[in-house]
């Protein structure tokens, strides 16, 4: 049959019981104790591959719960080693499902949490750690015994060896110990990270470090295990360290249970890839645990955006979301109105204002929570959601603005208390606009990461990005000025300053954005000039025009009037006259370079910003050189081919000039 048409319903056995009756999952695995240990290790390894494959987007039923031993929790009780391992696997799966379903990051990834009908909880799974500890203790004693024969002679009845072959005893003990310990620490990591208000993060880091150590040992055990294995498969796809097929797995069994399996056989990650997956997951988790729980929202956003750059998988993203939003508060600790007043740059005293309980602030808090959640989702989903929530941010801004104007009109004689509220309200209004533009810029930038733009779209995308960034700069600047003013007024009371805003300097955050604006504008003009002078390929579509492409790309921004009065015509007009010769005279790239250079000292303590500045400098420098080159030879050489690459920066392109 064509494998594409395999509905996944063809199975060897009709039920778990039938499989067991036919000897698919014997207990013990073998009456030869060495073989029994070997087979147990194979099951552990294969389960790791299954678990990683599940985390990467396949169903639990087709991966971890393809293990017959897991499906019948009671059957394994006579085999302490296998029983404790199965028990901790079930408990871990349950904990991971709880994290992901609570976090609600799984919109497109909902297959992950589906577990109907699977025995996620076996009797005694809640004691899985003590069972695991007991087994670990026994193996530790066996290891000690085989290393010192004297001890073994002293109490032979106490320490029965793990298996029959004395020469292999130490290696098998060690191979088992690292596998058991990894499970123990991993379970602890999950429990610690689930503690409220990030209280378990420090301890979680210790367990993460132990997990990574054990994973190394597990990886190293493969030399011994594969050397002592018969009937092994040496291919890279093997799901066990030994290279053997494990006993007791049948992925087709669950297709008749209620847990859903997609209508197709799946390919498991290899054992080596599964180890790599867990290393990556643990590093991502360590990154979360080392986060300092920034109380400034801007810092939180920045952390999440930075975290997403490593493309963390679902489990890590869910745990981050859990940390950020608990009980409707930031980190389960800071109420949102307090977070917002702080983010808007208002003084500490502002957060005690009774009006902060008003409906707009409550709604705004909800929007912030929603935004935090969206920022933790996979980039594809994130971009779509960011586009949609822009509308909500715009609406709340308009509602607040209306309320503000109404209040101003009503309060002709402003009493002191109301005046203070007006100030707070005004600050928050500007902050809301600032966030709206920040979300918009993130929406546009994510399009590059997701490869949603084709080269013929670059010009309009950079144009829109520059327009949004300029607005963002404006709002940040305005807020900084207002904060400065508030600060000065306060100072004035104390008689410290005479002149408001006289010694106000442009904040580095503003210059940083200005630098990006220059780069974006440079790219717009360069692309437009190349288009206008027919130096880059254009092929008008037979069915529509640039107008339709513009409308489609920016529909959500346009619908939310971000920014006001920006249309296709504004784009068309601002790029229509661009020419290479003009650009050489007024070169935006040079401005970007200059600002970037000056800014470095302001961010000497911020390695992330320094990297970004260096990248901006590189792109600006390359494009500046390219522009001059095109200006000099472009007209004379029709074979000149110009393309854009993202080798220096993830979303600011670098021109590549070639003779074809």
């Amino acid at each position: 049959m064509d494998p594409k048409m395999d509905s996944g319903m063809i199975c060897k056995y009709y039920s778990v019981d039938e499989a067991i009756e036919n000897g698919a999952a014997p207990i013990p695995l073998s009456f030869d104790r060495t073989v029994d240990v070997q087979c147990t290790i194979d099951i552990m390894d294969h389960l790791l591959s299954c678990e990683a494959t599940w985390h990467r987007g396949h169903s639990l039923a087709q991966t971890v719960f393809s293990c017959i031993y897991l499906l019948r929790p009671d059957r394994t009780s006579s085999h302490a080693l296998l029983h404790s391992y199965c028990s901790v696997i079930r408990a871990t799966c349950k904990a991971v499902i709880a994290v992901v379903s609570d976090a609600r990051t799984h919109e497109e990834e909902d297959l992950f949490i589906m577990a109907y009908g699977l025995p996620l909880t076996g009797d005694g799974d809640d004691k899985c750690l003590s069972m695991l500890n007991a087994v670990e203790e026994t193996i530790c004693r066996q290891l000690r015994a085989c290393k010192s024969p004297l001890l073994k002679n002293r109490a032979p009845e106490d320490v029965e060896p793990l298996q029959n072959s004395f020469d292999l005893e130490e290696h098998y003990c060690r191979a088992l110990l690292c596998r058991l310990r990894f499970r123990k620490h991993f379970y602890h990591v999950l429990t610690c990270m689930r503690r409220p208000q990030g209280r378990g993060l420090e301890l979680a880091r210790k367990h993460i470090a132990s997990c990574l150590l054990e994973l190394d040992l597990i990886r190293n055990s493969s030399t011994f295990l594969s050397n002592n294995s018969f009937g092994k498969d040496d291919s890279e796809d093997t799901t066990t360290a030994s290279g053997r097929q494990p006993l007791g797995f049948d992925s087709s069994l669950n297709c008749r249970l209620s847990a859903p399996t997609p209508p197709r056989a799946i390919k498991l990650l290899s054992w080596k890839k599964a180890l790599d997956y867990f290393v990556k997951l643990l590093r991502d988790l360590d990154n979360i645990c080392s986060y300092s729980l920034d109380t400034f929202l801007e810092g939180v956003f920045r952390f999440v955006v930075q975290f997403q750059k490593s493309q963390p998988d679902l489990v890590a993203r869910s745990l981050l979301q859990f940390l950020l939003v608990q009980d409707g508060k930031l980190y389960g600790r800071d109420p949102l109105y307090a977070v917002i007043t702080k983010a808007a740059g208002l003084p500490e005293s502002a957060k005690n204002h009774e009006n902060l309980k008003n409906q707009y602030i409550v709604q705004l808090g909800q929007l912030v929570i929603n935004l935090l959640r969206v920022l933790c989702t996979n980039s594809a989903w994130q971009r779509r959601k960011l586009g949609k929530i822009l509308q909500d941010w715009r609406v709340i801004y308009m509602q607040m603005e209306m309320a503000f104007k109404k209040d101003i009109a009503e309060i002709v004689s402003i009493s002191n208390g109301e005046n203070a509220w007006m100030k707070i309200f005004q600050h928050i209004l500007i902050w809301v606009e600032e966030q709206t533009y920040w979300i918009s810029s993130r929406f546009l930038v994510l399009g590059f990461e997701l490869e949603l733009y084709s080269p013929s779209d670059y010009c309009m995308v950079y144009w829109y990005l520059s327009v949004v960034l300029i607005k963002l700069v404006e709002k940040i600047h305005l807020r900084a000025l207002m904060n400065n003013e508030t600060g000065k007024r306060k100072g004035k009371k104390k008689g410290a300053s005479k002149d408001i805003g006289k010694d106000f300097r442009i904040p580095p955050a503003v210059s940083f954005l200005q630098c990006q604006v220059c780069l974006a504008e440079g790219l717009v003009m360069m692309l437009a000039a190349l288009r206008n002078e027919h130096m880059i390929a254009q092929s008008p579509s037979p069915f529509n025009s640039e107008y339709e492409r513009f409308f489609q790309h920016f529909e959500l921004l346009q619908k939310a009037c971000i920014p006001d009065n920006i249309t296709y015509d504004s784009y068309e007009q601002s790029t229509r006259l661009a020419r290479i010769s003009n650009l050489v005279t007024y070169n935006c790239f040079k401005d970007a370079q200059k600002i970037a250079k000056e800014l470095k000292s302001s961010f000497s303590n911020d390695p992330e910003k320094l990297v970004e500045l260096r990248r901006i400098e590189q792109v600006a420098e390359h494009n500046s050189v390219a522009l001059n080159l095109i200006h000099k030879v472009g007209g004379l050489d029709p074979s000149l081919k110009i393309s854009f690459e993202f080798n220096h920066h993830p979303y600011f392109g670098t021109a590549l000039v070639k003779r074809s």
Binding site: K4, E108, S379, L452, S454, S456, A537, S539, P542
Partner: protein
Amino acid sequence: MESKLDGVVEEEETRKVQFDASEIEYVSYGGEHHLPLIMNLVDQELSEPYSIFTYRYFVYLWPQLSFLAFHRGKCVGTVVCKMGEHRGTFRGYIAMLVVIKPYRGEGIASELVTRSIKVMMESGCDEVTLEAEVTNKGALALYGRLGFIRAKRLFHYYLNGVDAFRLKLLFPRMESHPSLPLMANAADNQRDNDGL
């Protein structure tokens, strides 16, 4: 109902057939006798599995949107589509597009899909959509040339775990852009935009 549109991938040049573009005959779906030809081609070339009911759903309801390409009596390519209401818009949808490997790179896929899109436009569609695997450079380039944009990326969309792009082509609305001429043949003399 989605499809990996790898029918237009031009990488594997297996046993390239020499032919003149004028030798290719394009035929609108003509009845049950065409069905096995379409099924055979799609099963051969696309990654998603479809049953006979899926094919019938498309070709019985929208026969005017399905086309086949023949070379000397042999079916070498096909396109299967539908159209209907979608959230307040009238939307065309390209379900399957296939050209067999020896015939790729000669504009057969473009011609097939252009014919379907024209019928959609004449039938009053506001837009056309489809999904394509993010790795399918050939299909992405083809649809890019026709004016489609990549509207969304769909995470782990296909059964094989690959992401998809949702591609969209918006037709001009005369009332919103009255000065716009329909540039049906303007593309011919332009340079290819893939290289940028």
